[in-house]
């Protein structure tokens, strides 16, 4: 197995699936330029030609409906958005059309569509370039929603998504693009609807989505070192369908559950997990399920406020300590992830 980045894993998947199946094509704003959606679509047009990889006008609504028309006629479109915030312009198609197209045809039509969008934080991305919205998409029956975290997941889940006969929304956190990991070179799939136990542990469960897994892993390491407590981290990976069993089994074992979601809390996926776990682990829970997510505000631009808007490893650590009745560890000298150390100049 080779070690590659998340962006390379995505790129590889697109190439492999387009080679395998001539019905697969890729389109969206900016997919053919020299930046190639943060590198994930570079080289695709050269390899497969302009029929199978092309840009579009700035018309997200029409271009969202376009995928549905192509899909019900046997193609397998992969529609790409630089930011999930732009994808919202196609919300009518998602909620009124994608969701019910098969049902309203009495099962005669199928809509194998992948919509990839970049989510989350960059460098002062502010309120219109930073949403996640997985909770909203997952709320609507007929859609599937996937949040790959590792390069391996990115390839396995995107492969599955492309082969799935339903609309699948794949949301990729921008900071994950640089993450490296071992990825099989050939073809493989990761089922949609199967959670990943990112780290085994017996004392408390953290359910983390997307980038929050990076924060949770750091938190778990600190908690282990400072308190000798083993945190179990479960990444649902797919928001809908949801692998309830893996989550429930973990919480039944540990008796404590924190949900660290990369979205707003109110009516969000963290609420769904908390409601489900509270119901299914009613007897086993020693403390109520706790939730972490975005602040209930639009995302601000300036450094200190943006840092406070997003949930982080430090908050997970404090929550673990609080739930287990531990003393607060001294976190001075700990190194937490900061984009500050990565960014130099423009995009």
């Amino acid at each position: 197995m080779k070690t590659i980045t998340y962006r390379e894993a995505i790129n590889q998947t697109l190439v492999q699936e387009m080679e395998r199946d001539p019905a697969v094509f890729v389109y969206g704003l900016d997919v053919t330029d020299h930046k190639g959606i943060f590198g994930s679509t570079l080289g695709i047009e050269d390899k497969f030609g302009a029929e199978r990889c092309f840009i579009t006008p700035l018309s997200e609504d029409a271009m969202t409906g376009f995928a549905l028309g192509a899909a019900i006629n046997g193609l397998r479109p992969v529609h790409i958005h630089q930011r999930v915030d732009f994808m919202i312009l196609g919300m009518n198609q998602f909620s009124n059309m994608y969701s019910s197209c098969r049902y309203m045809s009495g099962g005669k039509l199928k809509a194998p569509i992948v919509v990839r969008a970049v989510i989350g934080r960059g460098w002062g991305q502010s309120c219109q370039h930073s949403k996640s919205m997985h909770s909203v998409f997952a709320h609507i029956p007929g859609l599937k929603v996937v949040l790959p975290t590792t390069p391996r997941d990115a390839k396995g889940l995107l492969t599955t998504a492309i082969r799935d006969d339903n609309p699948v929304i794949v949301l990729e956190h921008r900071w994950l693009y640089d993450i490296e990991g071992e990825v099989p070179e050939g073809d493989y799939v990761i089922p949609i609807g199967k959670a990943n136990i990112v780290r085994g542990g017996s004392e408390i469960t953290v359910i983390a989505t997307s980038w929050m897994n990076v924060e949770a892993l750091k938190a778990a390491e600190v908690v282990q070192r400072k308190h000798g407590v083993e945190v179990e981290i479960v990444d649902p990976r797919t928001v809908y369908p949801l692998d309830e069993e893996t989550i429930v089994a973990s919480v039944k074992k540990t008796g404590h559950c924190i949900v660290a979601d990369y979205d707003w809390v109110f009516c969000g996926f963290s609420a769904e997990i908390a409601a489900m776990v509270s119901e299914r682990c009613f007897k086993e829970l020693k403390t109520p399920v706790s939730r972490l997510g975005f602040a209930h505000t639009p995302c601000p631009t300036t450094r200190p406020l943006e840092n406070k808007f997003y949930p982080s490893a430090v908050e997970i650590i404090r929550m673990v300590e609080n739930k287990l009745g531990l003393e607060l560890a001294d976190l001075r000298g700990e190194e937490f992830y900061s984009y500050e150390n990565k960014f130099k100049g423009p995009f």
Binding site: T56, S59, A62, G65, G69, I72, N73, N96, M97
Partner: protein
């Protein structure tokens, strides 16, 4: 309940060989079917056996029959919640039509779709939608698929005058022209959106504005389905030859209320019935029946065609009423593939 004689599967191949008389008979049968099928709905609707809001096609028959007559079986159509005529132009399956309206297992979508979402993918009426304008970009994607697969068929999408006010319509025109996709836009302009007149909604002329987006546009207000057939045939040829998307801007008068089975001239939003006397004088069914006569077809032969259709409608309706509802377990089926 299949109406074998009404639509012939290899219509298109035969068509060139069709005589003028055959063509006009075919058109009459379709128009008559559309009219009578809707009148049957008007008849039974008050008994609440059709639990689905209906947007009837009365008045627009010539457009749908004429356009569809010029399409081949491989050509696809997409429609709106006013989709009955389109269904009847494309599908021979009358049983599945009434089954759907009655919400029965025999319905084309097992009763899930009802009137507003009716379609018949197996006959090339792929989808309809009750969100104004929302099948327009879907048809765009279908046209792309046709081109991608190098099939030689085209896609026709039907919509009302009101649909042109949605931004997605203009987005779609632009992309269609840019990518030179084989698509025919059919604007069925009845001058109304629910109860709102076009002058209170549009500051543009549909033909002019769409032309400025690069389409070839043809306008007409005929109720002669043969004429519409010819216009469409020309447009289809042009699309295939020039790769330029076409738009047909066709006017008609909506006979009934927006949704439901009644006349509502008394509501006052668009004048009295008399104000539309010119339309009624040119009623598509009357017009086409007269034309058959002019072509020398005798009353008896016409009566025969009509009777066959009347019977098929009556039998299909009865079958639909007698058919069972879907089982509760059907609720959870076909959400995902």
């Amino acid at each position: 309940m299949f109406l074998k004689s009404i639509i012939n599967e290899d219509d298109c191949k035969k068509r060139t060989a069709m005589t003028n008389i055959e063509l006009n008979k075919e058109l009459y049968k379709k128009i008559y079917l559309m009219r009578k099928a809707e009148e049957k709905i008007q008849e039974v609707y008050y008994t609440d056996v059709m639990k689905t809001p209906v947007h009837l096609s009365l008045g627009e028959e010539a457009i749908v029959a004429g356009v569809c007559q010029a399409l081949s079986v491989d050509d696809q159509v997409y429609g709106t919640c006013r989709g009955h005529a389109l269904y009847l132009a494309r599908s021979k399956n009358l049983g599945a039509f009434y089954g759907e309206l009655c919400g029965k297992v025999t319905g084309v979508a097992k009763g899930k779709a009802g009137s507003m979402h009716i379609s018949c993918p197996e006959s090339g009426f792929v989808a309809s939608s009750a969100i104004v304008s929302s099948t327009i970009p879907v048809a765009l994607g279908a046209a792309f698929a046709a081109k991608y697969k190098k099939s030689n068929h085209i896609v026709a999408v039907f919509f009302g005058d009101g649909a042109t006010e949605e931004g997605v319509f203009w987005e779609t025109l632009n992309m269609a022209c840019l990518k030179k996709l084989p698509i025919l836009f059919v604007c069925e302009d009845n001058g109304m959106a629910i109860h709102a007149q076009i002058k209170d909604r549009q500051n543009y002329s549909i033909p002019e504005a769409t032309r400025s987006f690069g389409l070839s546009v043809h306008s007409d207000d005929t109720t002669d389905s043969e004429r519409i057939y010819s216009i469409t045939e020309q447009a289809v040829q042009d699309i295939k030859k020039t790769d330029v998307p076409h738009l047909l801007h066709l006017k008609y008068h909506r006979y009934l209320e927006h949704v439901g089975v009644n006349e509502d001239y008394s509501a006052g939003y668009r004048g009295q019935k008399d104000d539309y006397a010119d339309w009624y004088a040119r009623d598509p069914v009357l017009f086409q029946r007269e034309k058959l006569k002019l072509l020398g077809i005798i009353g008896d032969e016409i009566k025969l065609m009509e009777t066959e259709i009347d019977q098929a409608i009556n039998e299909s309706t009865k079958l639909a009423l007698d058919a069972p509802f879907p089982a509760d377990s059907e609720l959870f089926k076909d959400v995902y593939a």
